[in-house]
């Protein structure tokens, strides 16, 4: 039962990644691109967690933490760059 639920969640987040990829490529504004990239990082964290459950290993937790931090910092850096034209004033 867990296996099928796991496959369902994999499918959901995989389709979500495709939606985000579509939004990155065909975006009406640059803010949407940044938002889609941030969502891709969040979805990737979920996919990594699902992969860890599937293979029954705790090895991926550090990867998830790093993904969360780098995704957040890169999003804030993009937004800051668009707002001010510079990162470190």
């Amino acid at each position: 039962m867990i296996l099928y639920a796991l496959y369902f969640a994999f499918a959901c987040f995989g389709i979500g990644q495709l939606f985000c990829l579509y939004r990155v490529v065909f975006a009406p504004g640059v803010g949407d691109r940044v938002l889609a990239l941030d969502t891709m990082a969040i979805n990737m964290i979920a996919l990594t967690a699902l992969f860890g459950i599937l293979h029954d290993t705790t090895m991926y937790f550090e990867i998830m933490l790093l993904f969360a931090m780098v995704g957040f910092i890169s999003t804030v850096a993009y937004a800051k760059f668009l707002l001010r034209g510079d990162l470190i004033e």
Binding site: L6, F8, F13, T39, L83, D86
Partner: protein, 138 residues
Amino acid sequence: MDLAGEILISAMLVIGGAFGLVGSYGLVKLPDQMTRLHAPTKAATLGVGGIMIASLLWFGFFGERASWHEFLIVLFLFLTAPITGLMIAKTNMHLTWRPDELPYPGEDMHWATFGDSADRSLMDGDADLDNTERDLRE
């Protein structure tokens, strides 16, 4: 006991997956820039929270032992999602809205990205003016 654990983990996985899918679909479906901000910052974050609870339960029931790592990741995501939303909303406002389209903010107040300091931002290339103003204020 095992069956209850399986049902609980499966339910969390399905709920998390559904929320994640809704969050990413909203990014494509919703009509305008500011409403599109809502779906990923709320629904997708909640979906990841569900998946993390499922992972915690899985390692508690069937793995070696439950750990605090998932809580750490969920805490970090829930703390950073509103900040991300705020920054992108300010970016949208700054890039696509004009100051006279916005509601009146009140006496002696201004919208964050349209104040005096924004006029002197480094985008315009006059960094010297910015520095002198800052020196005068100090």
